[in-house]
């Protein structure tokens, strides 16, 4: 659906103005793909490259089977019809009503009046605002404004929806309801969603796949589950998590428990099968996108290490000897 290969972009010519470096991504149809990073790392720029709002210097970008850099201005306008976009500050026209905002894209494309009306009403009821047709944006809450923006973005029946920090100015409750709405739209309409954010919770709630971007580069990409279980340096950096300290005379193992094993009583079984006086150093079970998975850190006596590793690896639960070294964890 969206294929990015070795994309580079800079503002001006100087090397330090390079905002995107060697970006490669592959977003499949129906994915909800999260791109996370701190502000100013080029996430939004990348998003704007995808629908051609910004150009790029080098690399290949194929969206909906079309090579974006080959499109003429006119083709670009038609190309953008298939890609909806929503923003952090909603980007609604304050002097137009909810209904007028939603019909605007269709008016620009010269849809017939009856078609405009039926699509607008249908979408506004999809986002739960059928009773706010004639309200102005200033009379709505942030969450409702974003719902209007979502309805507007869907009017031209796009195949892709780009979300630029779409929940970053909403409180947690509203964020949750907007994300639920996006997920239901993804399921109902088979819409591919690319979500740029700096909030890890958003990634956990809605995304299937994720990429971490820092200093203009993709540091990690993969399914949300695999990225969280791998705990790459970029992830720890982003969530500000400190590495585990190893107690004196003990060895630490990291159990990476996937969704399919999480309901098993594996610690209980280990205690019964091998006689190891383990303690739990840290256990974080993530609930992300209806899956549960997480890393559990156990401290075991050094001479029992092998027994523990063998036990878990026989049960197909990834278990590794955790050996923290600062150099390896550093992001550079």
């Amino acid at each position: 659906m969206i294929l990015v290969q070795n994309l580079y972009k800079s503002y001006g010519t100087a090397e330090q103005n390079m905002v995107l470096k060697d970006i490669s991504l592959d977003v499949q149809k129906g994915d909800i793909f999260g791109i996370i990073g701190q502000s100013g790392v080029g996430k939004s720029t990348l998003l704007r490259c995808i629908n051609g709002l910004e150009g790029f210097d080098r690399g290949r970008l194929i969206v909906n089977g079309r090579n974006v850099s080959d499109l003429s201005d006119d083709e670009l306008m038609h190309f953008r019809k298939d890609i909806g976009m929503i923003f952090q500050n909603f980007a609604l026209l304050n002097r137009k009503t909810v209904f007028e905002n939603v019909v605007l894209p269709m008016q620009c494309w010269g849809y017939s009046k009856s078609r405009v009306n039926s699509i607008a009403k249908e979408l506004l009821s999809l986002v739960g605002l059928e009773d706010k047709l004639h309200a102005y944006p200033s009379e709505l809450s942030g969450g409702q404004k974003q719902r209007v923006a979502i309805a507007r973005a869907l009017t031209l029946e796009p195949k892709i929806l780009l979300c630029d920090e779409a929940t970053s100015s909403l409180d947690p409750g509203m964020t949750q309801s907007i994300l639920d709405l996006l997920r239901s739209i993804n399921e109902k309409l088979g819409l591919t969603i690319v979500f740029v954010t700096h909030e890890m919770d958003v990634i956990k709630i809605i995304c299937d796949k994720m990429a971490i971007i820092a200093e203009g580069r993709i540091k990690v990409a993969g399914s949300v589950e695999s990225v969280f279980l791998q705990e790459p340096a970029a992830l720890l950096e982003l969530v500000g998590q400190k590495p585990i300290e190893i107690p004196h005379g003990k060895a630490v193992v990291r159990l990476s428990v996937k969704n399919e094993n999480i309901a098993d009583p594996f610690l209980y079984e280990m205690a019964g099968a091998i006689d190891v006086p383990f303690t739990i150093l840290s256990a974080a079970i993530e609930r992300a996108n209806r899956k549960r998975f997480g890393n559990i850190f156990l401290a075991v006596p050094e001479n029992d290490l092998q027994k523990v590793l063998t036990f878990f690896n026989d049960r197909m639960i990834t278990c590794v000897h955790y050996n923290y070294s600062p150099a390896e964890r550093s992001i550079r």
Binding site: R48, N51, L53, M77, H78, F79, R80, K81, I83, G84, M85, F87, N89, A91, L93, N94, R95, K96, L104, P105, Q107, C108, W109, A135, Y136, P137, S138, E139, A149, R152, A153, T155, L156, L162
Partner: protein, 232 residues
């Protein structure tokens, strides 16, 4: 010193014959120069907005040349402009004196002001709106007329109110060089004949006109703003 001598003033005698027709002349000069100024100013503003470095179709050459011309015309005092372009005025309306002739220099000095007001109002519109409109495939024309102008309207209205009042003053100035209207009456029948009552009566009339324009402008502004539901 102000010396109001109600015994000798010819204010009441001149009221129907001279002052009332002058009010009409001033209003006509103002009305037509503002209408023409808005039309030309809007076109210029559109080109400025389109070609500005952050505009929809950046074109530094056109933007700089047009910006230069606009600034240069703004540098001319209205009274100098009236004299300086009299050949042009004669070519357009056939004469370089009188009410009709004054409309040409007034329009010429009004449109750059109006263009800059409109440009500034449009630049204040949230740039994300342009991104959003582009993201659903709107053309530049649609962005300008369906997004930028509607959103900037309250600000444009208040800018036009200020400009209109500014040019009410300019029409009286034109009166001094033969255009007629309230300025000429205040000058010739008031000031030059030492009839202070006459002069200040005309100032009072102008003051009422300012109030009416300001009030009308605020009324429209309020109505426009209310459309966004934010006016309290």
């Amino acid at each position: 010193m102000i010396h109001l001598d109600f015994a000798t003033t010819r204010l009441f005698e001149y009221m129907p014959k001279i002052i009332l027709p002058a009010v009409g002349a001033t209003m006509r000069m103002l009305f037509f120069s503002m209408i023409l100024g808005v039309i030309i100013g809007t076109l210029v503003a559109i080109v400025l907005v389109l070609t500005s470095p952050h505009g929809l179709k950046p074109n530094p050459k056109v933007y700089k040349v047009l910006g230069f011309v606009v600034n240069m015309i703004r540098a001319f005092p209205v009274i100098i402009l009236i004299v300086a372009i009299s050949p042009l005025t004669r070519a357009i309306v056939g004469t370089s004196i009188g009410e009709k002739a004054a409309i040409v220099p007034l329009t010429l000095s009004a449109f750059p002001v109006i263009a800059r007001y409109i440009e500034a109002s449009i630049l204040e519109v949230d740039p994300n709106l342009i991104l959003a409109a582009r993201s659903f495939g709107a053309s530049d024309r649609q962005i300008i007329f369906r997004v930028l102008f509607p959103e900037a309207m309250p600000s444009i209205v208040s800018g036009l109110t200020t400009t209109t009042i500014l040019f009410l003053g300019a029409t009286t100035l034109a009166g001094a060089v033969g255009a007629g209207g309230l300025g000429a009456v205040a000058l010739t029948y008031g000031y030059q004949r030492f009839d202070d009552v006459m002069m200040y009566a005309i100032v009072l009339i102008l003051f009422v006109m300012v109030l009416v324009i300001q009030g009308g402008g605020e009324f429209i502004y309020r109505k426009q703003k209310k459309k966004g539901g934010v006016f309290k």
